[in-house]
Each structure stands twice: as structure tokens, then as C-alpha cells.
């Protein structure tokens, strides 16, 4: 019997500090046993448990795309026990990863459609995975227009800034980067909250258009009415939820909303599914 709790050992290959407050770091991990990489076959939107021996495990969205080979990437916000310890680790240190876990975004359904990605703060991780995946030369023809609305408090708090700049210059994708406020006179992009920019820039809702939203609760709360106004059907609005997790495989019982386990039945749900669930998240 395979032990689903046993992490694959990985080495920290590279650490990048993403934001000026140094609270977000991206970790590039390489499998110690190359055969494990093949077993870790994932899709954009899934997550994994990062395992730090002596400290514990944390669920973190996979920020790399399945089209990027040779490593797996995660971006971690420093909040508590395990994340703080991770932030103090060095390149070459050994940790573990367990997964992939949960459901991805529904790529079968999304093919052939317009995709509007709406992200805020550090929840942009699996959205980065999705963008890189869709922009892969083999994948790009399978999608219609791709729009990305991504906001952070200030320019220094945006993740993956070099990549964002590259995407801005690409004709394959329409970027709408925004910050809450900035005193930088050279800021070339939008200012304003994500819901406002969504109202101005998002495609109107129709059968051919899906929105994927990931962000802090407050952003989701104010974006939802905007999408309603833009005529998005609730089964065309896709969200990824966060709950405290331990096992990540539907066994330990803590991440339920109603009868669904967010780790196993989610974390990706359509708004139509969430409408039917108890409001306890």
C-alpha cells in the first residue's frame, strides 16, 4: 500500500525574494530522486504540501507550470511556524514535497474559451502557473483571448515582476496590472483596486468566457458583484479556496465546507457550486 503521507525529498535549488518587504520568497525545488519528478505529474491550479522536517507541513499552491521541466516552484508568504522557518533556509537545504493535491482549474472546459484571470496579492501563484501554461507555444492556440487583471498594494508588492514586464510586451496576452496607490511618477500601468479595474477592462460574460479569481477575501467579495454586472454566469466563475489543512487528501477532517473537503473536492470550485454550500469559509 502506497503511503500518501510520505513526502518526496527535494533540494532547494534557488531562492528569490519577490517583494520589497521580504515577506514573499520563491523557492525552486529539485527532486533528489529524478524518478519522483515523473510521479509528481501536476496541472495548473493544484497544490502540494511542503514538508519541513522538525517543523511540519504546509499546503502551498504550485507556482510553476507543468510545461516547465526540471523543477517545481512555490512562492511562500511568511506568516507562522513553518513559513518563517522556510524563509530562514538556504539553497542546498533538503525539504520534502507531497502531492500534487486537489483539483486543477478545469482545463478541459477552458480550452477554446476566453480566459479572464483576476488575481490579488500573493494569491497570484497558481495564476502564474496557469498563465505560463497557456502561453506555452503548444498550448496558446488552444485558447481564445487571455486577459489578466492583477493587483497589489504597491509596485514593490507585485510578484514575478520580470515576467509581468515580458507579458506586457506580448501580443498573446492582455495584461491589466494595477496597484492600490503609488507615488512613482514613472508608473505606466493602472492604479485602483482590482474590482474597479475588472469593471473597466474585463470581457463581458458569455458562454465562451470564463473568469478565474484568486485573491484575498475582500477582493473576492467586491469583485463578485462586478462580474454579476458583467453578466458572468456563476458556473463560469472559477475560484480557488483556502482553508487550514493538514493531510491534504480528505482524511484528517478539518478543511470541510459542508460535505466537501476543500483539499480533495476543491480547492477549485465554481461560484455555482459555492452558492449551494454553507457559507463557512
Amino acid at each position: 500500500m502506497q503511503n500518501p503521507y510520505l513526502p518526496y525529498p527535494v533540494r532547494i535549488d534557488e531562492i528569490v525574494t519577490e517583494t520589497e518587504d521580504k515577506n514573499l520568497k520563491t523557492f525552486k525545488l529539485v527532486f533528489l530522486n529524478p524518478a519522483d519528478e515523473e510521479k509528481f505529474y501536476y496541472k495548473a491550479g493544484q497544490f502540494a504540501e511542503l514538508s519541513v522536517a522538525g517543523k511540519g507541513e504546509i499546503p502551498i499552491g504550485i507556482a510553476s507550470s507543468p510545461t516547465e521541466k526540471g523543477y517545481i516552484m512555490f512562492t511562500v508568504n511568511k506568516v507562522g511556524l513553518v513559513t518563517t522557518h522556510l524563509h530562514s533556509m538556504k539553497e542546498g537545504d533538503v525539504i520534502g514535497i507531497r502531492g500534487p493535491l486537489g483539483n486543477s482549474y478545469p482545463w478541459d472546459i477552458l480550452q477554446g474559451k476566453n480566459i479572464v484571470i483576476i488575481g490579488g496579492g500573493f494569491a497570484f501563484t497558481t495564476l502564474r502557473s496557469s498563465i505560463v501554461y497557456m502561453l506555452d507555444p503548444v498550448m496558446r492556440p488552444k485558447f481564445k483571448d487571455i486577459h489578466v487583471i492583477y493587483g497589489a498594494r504597491s509596485p514593490e508588492m507585485l510578484l514575478y515582476r520580470d515576467e509581468l514586464a515580458g507579458w506586457e510586451n506580448s501580443s498573446d496576452i492582455n495584461m491589466h496590472i494595477t496597484v492600490d496607490a503609488t507615488d512613482d511618477p514613472d508608473w505606466k500601468y493602472n492604479t485602483g483596486f482590482v474590482p474597479t479595474i475588472t469593471e473597466q477592462k474585463a470581457l463581458p460574460g458569455n458562454a465562451e468566457t470564463y473568469a478565474i479569481i484568486c485573491g484575498p477575501p475582500i477582493m473576492i467579495k467586491f469583485t463578485q458583484p462586478v462580474l454579476d454586472k458583467l453578466d458572468y454566469a456563476h458556473d463560469h466563475i472559477i475560484m480557488s479556496l483556502e482553508m487550514r489543512m493538514k493531510c491534504g487528501i480528505g482524511m484528517c477532517g478539518r478543511c470541510n465546507i459542508g460535505k466537501e473537503f476543500v483539499c480533495k473536492d476543491g480547492p477549485v470550485f465554481t461560484l455555482a457550486q459555492l452558492d449551494k454550500m454553507p457559507k463557512e469559509f
Binding site: 500500500m1 502506497q2 503511503n3 500518501p4 503521507y5 510520505l6 513526502p7 525529498p9 533528489l32 514538508s51 519541513v52 522536517a53 522538525g54 517543523k55 511540519g56 507541513e57 506568516v79 507562522g80 513559513t83 537545504d93 533538503v94 525539504i95 520534502g96 477575501p217 483556502e242 482553508m243 487550514r244 493538514k246 493531510c247 487528501i249 480528505g250 482524511m251 484528517c252 477532517g253 478539518r254 478543511c255 470541510n256 459542508g258 460535505k259 480533495k264 449551494k276 454550500m277 454553507p278 463557512e280 469559509f281
Partner: protein
């Protein structure tokens, strides 16, 4: 595996009981109820220790025989000079065959309810599944049920057989042993029990007698058709939960509660990853790292417990409620919160 034919019954003379248990202890790790001050609890029986079958039921359920309150999952070394440092290694475990003697039918049936969580087509919890498969369940029928027992309306009963491999029935100076599965048949051989008898009628009348001794009931027939959101938003939760002190006694004592936590423990340069029972009654159960907690109030946690047992479980598995009617939480709750009352309220609730 259930034996398809008319069940075999053997008679076990109590005079030979000590020797029979000794026989069993040669091929099984044995577990059974033992007296501990004023209460009984299940524990592994040392050589020459007998299960004390003169008991009503244990305070804690026997779930720990398969699912210990605390168990080691992995071990690791933190010394960077050593090979494989920081790499998790499976902890060694004893999954040799074991038997529990004298488990009550409700507690054995509870394992089947929990199995739906730990043993699924997509994913199996190896610790639970291996321990469960290694165990032979020898039940003891309840001739004299307790006033808090409501098993007969919780999908179970004092002579209930599902989840058992053998059912023992105390008939004075002997036991009848009803052989239910092939696992039970194997245990029978190891014990040397071979006096076949035709006791069907006698057992049936004892069973009916026991069932009439159950005086407490719940109604569950309408739970399935209720709308989850209606029950979730029902006005009665504040009242129901008012007295709860979130002590967690109910979930720890419960044979069907399975929630756990995973924690690392470090001793010098080595460490273990442990799993420990946890409870939805505790605020930490759902607290996010950011400080946000979707179940911040005691009411929300009490509601989770009953909604899980009586609605979410019902909807998820379409196989009844997540409760076998053992009555432990009713007897042990320090503020008298009563699942029977809450179940009936939920069952009859109309928005």
C-alpha cells in the same frame, strides 16, 4: 468476508475460558476491556491477563486499537553530517494479527462508518487500513443495555453483527459464539472452540429481550431530504450550543470521530512526525495562519459536529448517520448536550 450460509454457533464453557484465551494469545495480540479504578478501558492484554467481560462499556471507545490517539508516522535525522538527513523514513509498525475480545456491537459497527473515510477507492490511509485488516473483532452482545443507548434507531443494535467476526452471547455459565466471517472462523480454530450447538431460537429470544431494553430513540428519516443550507442557518444552534464549553470530550470519546492533526516532534538531532487525534470542537482546528478563522465561535463548532454527523455524512455516503448510538457523549458531556435531542430537532425542522 461474511459467511453466506446459516451461521454456525458454538458453545464455550466458561470453565475453559482461561485456557482458551491462552490459546488465542499464542497466535494473536489480544486486546480487551480491563478495569481501571471505576471505569473500564480497552488495552492490550499482557500474558495471563483476561479480558474483563463483566462490564457495561468503556468510557473511551475502542477506536484506539486500530487508530491510536497518538502514533508515529515518520522518523528523520536532523544531523547534516549523516546520510539522508531531513528525509522522512517510515516508522516501523506491528501489523501482526490481533484480536479484540468483548467489543460491543455498536463500537464494532463504528469502524465500518469510519472506514468510509479512511479506505476509499482513490486513497487509503495505510495506518488505519493495515491495522483494521489485521484485527479480528470478537463482540459481546448487550443483554442489558444502558439508559443512554439508542443504537436500535442509529442503524445498529445490542446483537448487531455488521463489523464483527464473532458475536459472543453471555448465557450464564457458558457463552454462545456466533461465527460471522471467515476471520472469525480462523479465530475459532485457534481458540479450539468446536462444540457446535443449535441455539438459534435461544439467541433470537435473548436478542428480542435486549432490544426491548432499549428505551431511547432518535428519528433520522427526514435528514437526507433537508436542504443543507436550511439546517445550517436554522435558528436553534445558538440555543443548542449555549452551554458547550468546547472541551472536546464528546469527540474524543466517540467511536466514529476520526479527525486528526499532524505534528513534528524533535528530540535532539532526531525527530518524528506524529499524528494525534484532533477535534472540531477546538478553535485551532480551523485557524488560518493569517489569524482568520472560519469557525471562530463555539456555536459554529458545535454546529459543525452535529452537521457532520447528522447531515454532511448522510449526504456524502448515503448510508445513514455518523453515529451508532453508544450514548457516550450523552453520558459524558459536562453540560448535558444531548445528540438525541439535537438529532430530533434537526429531523423535524421546517424552515
Amino acid at each position: 468476508m461474511n459467511l453466506g450460509y446459516t451461521m454456525k454457533v458454538v458453545r464455550i464453557d466458561k470453565k475453559n475460558w482461561v485456557g482458551d484465551i491462552e490459546n488465542l494469545s499464542r497466535s494473536y495480540r489480544l486486546f480487551g476491556p480491563v478495569k481501571d479504578d471505576n471505569f473500564h478501558r480497552f488495552e492490550e492484554l499482557d500474558k495471563d491477563k483476561l479480558p474483563d467481560l463483566d462490564y457495561f462499556n468503556t468510557r473511551l471507545s475502542p477506536k484506539s486499537i486500530v487508530y491510536p490517539q497518538s502514533e508515529t508516522m515518520f522518523e528523520y535525522c536532523l544531523d547534516e553530517r549523516k546520510k539522508d538527513h531531513h528525509v522522512m523514513k517510515e516508522a516501523s509498525k506491528d501489523y501482526s494479527q490481533r484480536a479484540v475480545i468483548g467489543i460491543r456491537p455498536c463500537d464494532a459497527a463504528a469502524f465500518l462508518l469510519v472506514k468510509r473515510n479512511f479506505d476509499t477507492p482513490e486513497c487509503k490511509d495505510p495506518y488505519w487500513v493495515k491495522a483494521y485488516e489485521a484485527t479480528t473483532f470478537v463482540g459481546l452482545a448487550c443483554n442489558n443495555p444502558h439508559s443512554a443507548c439508542f443504537c436500535t434507531t442509529a442503524g445498529c443494535g445490542p446483537f448487531h453483527e455488521d463489523g464483527l467476526d464473532i458475536l459472543l452471547i453471555d448465557a450464564g455459565n457458558h457463552y454462545f459464539a456466533k461465527i460471522i466471517t471467515s476471520k472469525g472462523e480462523n479465530l475459532l480454530k485457534a481458540a479450539g472452540w468446536d462444540t457446535k450447538v443449535d441455539a438459534g431460537k435461544e439467541i433470537e429470544s435473548m436478542k428480542q429481550n435486549a432490544e426491548t431494553g432499549i428505551t431511547s430513540f432518535i428519528a433520522t428519516n427526514k435528514l437526507k431530504d433537508k436542504i443543507t443550507a436550511d439546517l445550517f442557518d436554522a435558528p436553534f444552534w445558538e440555543d443548542m450550543a449555549f452551554a458547550c464549553i468546547n472541551c472536546g470530550t464528546c469527540t474524543y470519546a466517540c467511536p466514529t470521530c476520526w479527525c486528526f492533526d499532524i505534528q513534528d516532534e524533535v528530540h535532539g538531532c532526531s525527530g518524528t512526525r506524529m499524528r494525534n487525534w484532533d477535534s472540531c470542537m477546538y478553535p485551532l482546528f480551523t485557524l488560518h495562519g493569517s489569524g482568520y478563522n472560519p469557525r471562530n465561535t463555539g456555536m459554529q463548532r458545535v454546529r459543525q459536529r452535529f452537521m457532520h454527523k447528522l447531515k454532511y455524512y448522510v449526504d456524502k455516503y448515503d448510508n445513514g448517520i455518523q453515529c451508532v448510538g453508544c450514548g457516550r457523549c450523552v453520558s459524558l458531556c459536562p453540560v448535558n448536550i444531548d445528540i438525541r435531542k439535537i438529532c430530533n430537532t434537526m429531523n423535524s425542522y421546517e424552515k
